[in-house]
């Protein structure tokens, strides 16, 4: 039993829980940032990443979530009928009204004895679902709960976000600590009302407060959440083997990591944005999956998401022996990244459905 301490904001369930399965998904197509730059600036502008992942014509957040969820199930080897929640966090649900989560629940065989809901909080919708899943399992209401962060992100043609807004994400299955590949020691959320980025109900593309996205938004929340969690669990950067942060570009997470005292060998493995772009709700969680593909038993991991609007969820994780036998049961995150077909701007426009005829 954990003593509840109202002063430090730490969230830790009564029953210990962990990650019993995880799975990533990255679609096959890549558009180099240099190709987008060629289109809009004649290739003269600097680019924030090397390339980004783009979904195919027949893919959306539902199909991509299904594949990530199936990978999580392959690693967990549990009966899908024991799952009591399927939660999908995204900014690009295929329907405005009609849950993505029911489609995923059906496809993995979790219906009908399950909760299903879609979560929204810009890019941290997936980690919020993770925290709720921790509570669901930690309270004893469920043996397993599935949380997914997945996006097919939108950038207005020619806008700075077009270079990075990408497709991909991950599924994290929460269950009892005794069956876990990764133990969850606790989590912490840091939230304020900050208008750095938004999309109105009927707009196709988001708007952002340009210079407002850095210090008062990303860094304030990511650093605030990370520091508060590390203080609450009494750990410093050197106690963690790995760290992963929300990745809107390559620079922000690198700067945040260094400000917290992390060295490149702690944060480079989970930093995927230079090669797949910003997968929004998927970004932090898919970074975690890349770490789990290589981490060793005993390794501690700090994970911190960020969602505009704004807030960060921070998690303190520790790898168990069980990870070693489970991880090879599904395609690794690097395996998906290596499956790469380059496309040009014209094909990209068709795939992203930007051609208004």
């Amino acid at each position: 039993m954990n003593a509840y301490n109202p002063s430090n904001g730490l969230m830790r369930p009564d029953r210990p829980v962990g990650i019993v399965g995880y799975g990533a998904y990255v679609p096959r197509y890549r558009i180099p940032a240099a190709e987008i730059s060629r289109m809009w600036t004649g290739g003269t502008g600097g680019v924030p990443i090397k390339e980004k992942a783009v979904n195919g014509l027949d893919e959306d957040v539902a199909t991509m979530s299904i594949e990530a969820a199936r990978n999580a199930m392959l690693r967990a080897q549990i009966n899908p009928q024991e799952i009591r929640a399927v939660w999908v966090g995204s900014e690009s649900h295929p329907y405005a009204v009609k849950p993505t989560s029911t489609i995923v629940a059906e496809a993995i065989g979790a219906v009908p004895n399950t909760q299903a809901a879609d979560w929204e909080f810009a890019c941290k919708a997936g980690t919020e679902a993770m925290q709720a899943a921790i509570a669901f399992v930690g309270s004893g209401m469920a043996r397993y709960a599935l949380s997914i962060g997945m996006d097919t992100a939108q950038g207005r043609p020619g806008d700075a976000l077009e270079y990075t807004a990408a497709a991909g994400g991950a599924a994290i299955l929460i269950g009892p600590a005794a069956e876990s590949l990764v133990l969850i020691d606790g989590s912490y959320s840091f939230v304020t009302d900050t208008p750095d980025f938004w999309r109105r109900a009927h707009a196709d593309y988001p708007s952002h407060g340009d210079r407002f996205t850095g210090e008062p938004a990303y860094f304030k929340h990511v650093l605030g959440a990370a520091e508060a969690l590390m203080t609450a669990v009494n750990r410093t950067a050197s106690d963690y083997r790995w760290a992963v942060f929300h990745q809107p570009n390559a620079k922000f997470p690198e700067r945040a990591a260094q400000a917290l005292g992390f060295a490149p060998d702690q944060f480079k493995v989970g930093l995927l944005s230079p090669r797949i772009g910003n997968t929004y709700s998927g970004s932090t969680m898919i970074g975690l999956t890349a770490i789990l593909d290589v981490a060793e038993p005993g390794d501690r991991i700090l994970m911190v998401s960020y969602g505009s609007g704004a807030g960060s969820d921070a998690f303190d994780l520790q790898v168990t022996e069980r990870l070693l036998e489970a991880r090879g049961r599904a395609i690794s995150t690097e395996g998906y990244i290596a499956r790469r077909t380059e496309i040009d701007y014209a094909t990209y426009t068709r795939y992203r459905d930007k051609l208004k005829l």
Binding site: R28, G56, L57, D58, E59, D60, A62, T63, I66, E67, P94, Y95, I103, E106, A107, I108, G109, V111, D293, R327, G328, I331, S332, E334, G335, Y336, A338, R339
Partner: protein
């Protein structure tokens, strides 16, 4: 029975759930409740692994309504590793890549979208089996 029939169709579309014959063990897809081999009633549900190979294929350039946004696309006869032949679209593939005998795996994708306001229909397709390109 209505509800369970509906669920079976959905399961068939999303996860390749067929049947296995209780008497001779043959696997059936799609489920048809009577064994094709021995005519015994086959009721036991069986979820296929989704692994198979291309048995034959063709490329569609002139698509029926609802599919025109995807042209050109490929349709193949897939031989599942459990035996049955299934007709399905291929995805994540260039027409030049396909060969008979190519290992493929089942994925759930958008089959069709009914305009801007209609339903999105999801179902199985097959893609080239993803080789693990990195050391595990």
């Amino acid at each position: 029975m209505e509800v369970s029939r509906h669920w079976r169709l959905q399961a068939q579309r999303y996860q390749l759930v067929g049947e296995t014959c209780d008497s001779c063990g043959v696997k059936l897809f799609p489920p048809r409740d009577v064994c094709l081999e021995c005519e015994a009633p086959a009721q036991e549900l069986y979820t296929f692994t989704g692994l198979g190979e291309i048995y034959s294929y063709t490329t569609i350039y002139d698509a029926p309504a609802g599919f025109e946004h995807n042209t050109p696309y490929m349709v193949a006869l897939i031989k599942l590793e459990e035996g049955p032949l299934v007709t399905a679209q291929l995805t994540d593939i260039d027409p030049s890549e396909a060969v008979i005998g190519m290992p493929v795996e089942m994925v759930t994708r958008k089959l069709r979208t009914d305009g801007d306001e209609g339903m999105i229909v999801y179902g199985y397709k097959f893609r080239p089996a993803v080789e693990e390109l990195t050391a595990v």
